[in-house]
Structure formats: C-alpha cells, structure tokens
Amino acid sequence: MHTPDLKDHAVLAAQFNANEPRVNWHDETLWWVRQKRDRMAWSLPEWEALRDAASAIKHNVLGNLHEYLLEFERNAIANGAAVHWAANAAEHNRIVLQLLQQQGVKRIVKSKSMLTEECHLNPYLAENGIEVIDTDLGERIVQLAKEPPSHIVLPCIHKKKEEIGELFHEHLGTPAGNADPQFLTAAARTHLRTEFLQSRVAITGVNFAVAETGEMVVCTNEGNADMGAHLADMHIACMGIEKLVPQRKHLGVFLRLLARSATGQPITTYSSHFSKPKPGQQLHIVLVDNGRSRQLGRADFRNSLKCIRCGACMNTCPVYRRSGGHSYHNAIAGPIGAILAPNLDMKQYADLPFASTLCGSCSNVCPVKIDIHQQLYKWRQVITEEGQAPASKAAGMKLMAAVLSSPGRYRFAGKAARWLLRTMPGLINNRFNPWYKQRELPEPPATSFAAWYKKNR
C-alpha cells in the first residue's frame, strides 16, 4: 500500500495505536457522542422520515443546482451582499486576500469553516502577512498547537486537557498545570473577546444557504460566528456551492437533524440567519466549486455532496475512533472524508477508501442518507481501474483470482496451505505475516469440507 512520498492511513493509524490507553480514551469519548446522538434520534419517532426528507431535499438541490445557484445569487445581491465565484481553492484564497487587502487589515477573526481548511486559507494568508485567529475554541486550540483539526465538529477531540493547559500556559499565560476545562474556557473567552473587539473583518463558514431568500445560516454553540460577524466592518462568508437548500422552510428539516446527529443536542445554541449586511457593513459571499461540479457529474459519488458536515459518521466509525482524524491526512477525516478526498486528488488519497471495514454504520447514522460505505467500495474499484493500486497488490489479486476461478487449482492450493500450516507452521506464522503479529491462525484441519462431503455423502 505504502509508497514513500505518499501518506498512508495504515501507517499513521499504526502510529496512533502505539499508545493503547489513549486509543481507548479517544474511542470511548467519541462513542459517548454517538450514544448521545442515538438518544436524540430515539426522542423523535419521525427520525427516519426526517432523514428521508433531508435526503430527498438534497437530491432535489443536486438536480437543480444550476437554477438554485442563480436564484441564490440574485437574492443575495438584492439583499445587499456581493457574490464572488471561485473555481478552485487558489481562486478562493485570492478573492479573500484581495478583500482583506482592500480593508488594509493584518489580523482577522474566523469562525469554523471546513471549506477554508480544505482550501488551506490560513497558511496562504499567513504567507501574505495576514494573521487569522480561529475563534472556535477547539480550532483555536489546534491552531495554537500548529495542527489541523482532527474532526470537523470536535476539532481537538484528540487532545487531552493537560495538553491544552500546557498550550494555554505557553500562549495565553495561564498558570502552569491548570487543566480545568471551565478555567481554560474562561481564559479563551477573555483572550478571544479582545480579538473580536479588535478585528475589522470576520470570516465565517456557512451551514446552509437558502436560494429563495439569499440568506445564509451559520450554526455554532459558542457564538463565535456572531461575535465576529456583527462587530466587523466586513463579513466574508465562504461556502461550497452544494450548501444550498431551496426554501426557508427546508431549514426546519436540517436544523432538526444537524445538532442531534452531530453532538446529540436538540439544536445548536445559535442558528443565525444572515440576510442583509448591517448598516454600514459589507457582506461578501464566496461560492466555491473546487471539484464539486466534477463530483456532481460522477453518478456513483454525487450523493456525497449532500453532506451537511455533522460528523456523525466519524463518531460512529470504529476505524476513525481507533485511528484518529489525522490519520486521514485530509481536511475532512473519517468515512465522509474518505469519499470526498479521492475527488480532490485520487493519487494522494488512494489509501482512504481502503481505511474501512465497510461495516456500514456510517450510512446508517448519516442524516442525509449518503450511501457512504457503498461509495467506499466503488472508490476502491475506481482507484484500481485508474492504476493507483500498488503493483504487488495487483499481482497478488490476479493470482488469487486465477486460483479461485478454477476448482482444481483451488483444491490444490487449499490442500497445500493446510499441509504447510500443519507441517511447517513457522513458514507462515512469523513476524512478516501481519495476521500473525497479534493473532493466531486457525488450527489447520486435516481435511476440507469438500473432502469430508465426498467421503460421507
């Protein structure tokens, strides 16, 4: 699987597993979130009908995206916003930089936006002399640690409070050794209030944009998007083109599902509907494609564009919980990341669709019913067809196919393998065999079922 210049999930996951108690902690923390989600789902008898409705609304959006984008643009402009279009990440970053340069600012606040992570906006702006302060607490923590978020909803879920205490001691001057979440959150509140009050520009992400009204909905628990956007002279909202919903009433379906699926709350604390800029303020909306229109054309994979970024698939994924978000080496980790990433770069992310047992739990929790595990299977086929599978694996599979498509060769190979295991187990049970490293092989029986059958029936 592993080529030296490419990152590999299996290798990174093995590193994560070097510390088993920490893996247990990570697994149990996220499993707790999954359980909270289950309780919320069970509190609504109409839960499955809501998922059906959400999926159908998003399907309608995909089929009318061209029309909805035009409708949204028209209404947003009528509301007083400026609408920008970015074909790719680089263009998105250039648009944002230009706006910031016009305002002459060197330091800005940003609330959570996975899109800006996908576009690597922060490092780009840093290269151009502008510092971005991430204001979501979890994002601020990973930013101070110089790490990317490991989860789209819980960015620092991989960090222990003691490590966060250390970071705050170093960067915010809190007393050494204080790792109390209450205390650390209060320290961050004070620190970030200063930033909110000083910043003249705020960037936010967008959870939903309504074609009918030209408004955008941003959901947070902390209130950081609102603190930033309402105090700033300029609000820049960055969104992927798939974030649209047709009408305002459709928000009812998505706001009922989003927080329940994400963190097991009935709704986020704040669901803010931005329509017109406040008097004297500029509102800029950047619509970003960056591969989305290409994904829209892939019949097998377009459903991935329904994603509302709740993170439920990560919380339920038994592999994600035991390998950590960074092992996916992509802005969006977990099962959904593994079906989105190959569209961005098939070679770089060829490992991700294989980082799954195809257990299917992700598809079951998905509030918009994306067939995630089926798409993982299909990406595997595409990656192989496109020649991204390692040559050794391809050779092995060809050999296996040749054996299994011939009863004679199959019987011979099976007999040989069992004989080998019985007479020279060391040849197979050794440290070069990844099965044997932490598991015993089955005791080889003297006879196969077929041979028994021949004798007994």
């Binding site: 009050l197 603190m227 009935p266 604390t269």
Partner: protein, 196 residues
C-alpha cells in the same frame, strides 16, 4: 469564460435529472405546545425558565434575579423603562459600545418546544450583536407563541424578511475540551427565559 460562468456551465452539464421536493406537511400537525414541554427542554439546554402572569412583574423579577448586574439594557421600549442605568445612546455605534453590558433583555417572536429555541429578529434586537456580547441574556416570550417544532416555527416565520434573525437555545457553550460541557464560551454566559 470567467469562473462564475465556468462553474455554472459545469454544474448544468453535470447535474442529475431533477427530482421532486418532499412534502413536509406531515411533520407539522397544527397546534401550539405547552409551556411545560418547552420548559423541560429549555432547562436541559441550560436555560433558566421563569413564568410570570403579567409583564408588570418584570421589575420585581429584575430585582430578585439580577440585582448584582449594574448595566442592564433592554431592546424592548416597554421593558427599557425599568432599566434606568442603560446609557441613552447604547444603540449608537458598531456594537463595541455594548462590551460592558451585564444583561440584555430582548423579546422573542416565538419559542420552539422541541428544542427550547427562541426566534429573535433584528427588529427586536436593535443592535445585532446585543444578545451575544452581553454577559447575560434574558428573553421575554409570550406563552401562546410556543410552537411544537421547527417546522411550525418556519411556517410562522414564513417569508418574513429580516436582515438578521437567530434561534437561540440556551447560553453560549462549548465542550471542545475533552467533551466537558462549559457554559459561557463567547456569548452570553446565561440565558433566562421569562414566559408571560
């Protein structure tokens, strides 16, 4: 071709056949919801819920619950009369003038029983940042405006246009540090809902 046209052309070429929108009526059986149902959920969301029989009780309530808060600002003219310490020009400025407000009092258009959320519009807030920047928030809600679900809420909000509107459900909170719930992240540290 500029990026706009290029994106739109690619989307048009690649989008699947259009499908119908689902009917949402089944999710919103007509009716209102009880105060108790709302209270129960609102409290689990971290809100304090106080029920009064008339708005005339508000001054007494302010005395009882908020006497330690010197700077109280109300965006509602009727209630503002009971907040004598509010600067007369608190609405003037870009919002930063509100950074020392201890308590903001605003009026909600409606409440949602399934999640304890309150719908606040720009008109009711006067200054958009008010409910976020104030250290604490109190919201006055008429009991008969409590609706069962978000579907009901959007049916009422309909296409009423406001420059800004927000559902607020509880105080500002975070669980980003090891999933420990902490109230008072960046917005109001507490939310008191006064049901009339």
């Amino acid at each position: 071709m500029n990026s706009r046209d290029q994106i739109l052309a690619a989307v048009k070429a690649n989008q699947p056949a259009a499908s119908a929108l689902p009917d949402l009526d089944g999710f919103a059986a007509p009716g209102t919801a009880g105060v108790e149902a709302f209270r129960k959920v609102a409290e689990t969301m971290g809100s304090r819920v106080i029920t009064i029989s008339s708005e005339a009780e508000i001054p007494a309530l302010l005395k009882e619950y908020f006497s330690d808060m010197p700077l109280i600002v109300s965006a509602d003219p009727a209630i503002a009369a009971w907040c004598p310490n509010a600067p007369v020009n608190w609405k003037e400025g870009d919002g930063r003038q509100l950074q020392h407000v201890d308590l903001a009092i605003v009026r909600a258009q409606l409440g949602v029983a399934e999640n304890g959320a309150l719908w606040l519009t720009e008109a009711a807030l006067q200054v958009r940042v008010l409910p976020f920047i104030a250290q604490h928030l109190a919201v006055v809600l008429q009991a008969d405006t409590i609706l069962p679900t978000m579907h009901h809420a959007y049916n009422v909000i309909g296409d009423l246009r406001s420059g800004f509107g927000v559902f607020i459900a509880g105080p500002s909170k975070t669980a980003d540090i090891e999933q420990s719930l902490v109230l008072g992240a960046h917005g109001a540290k507490s939310l008191t809902i006064i049901i009339v």
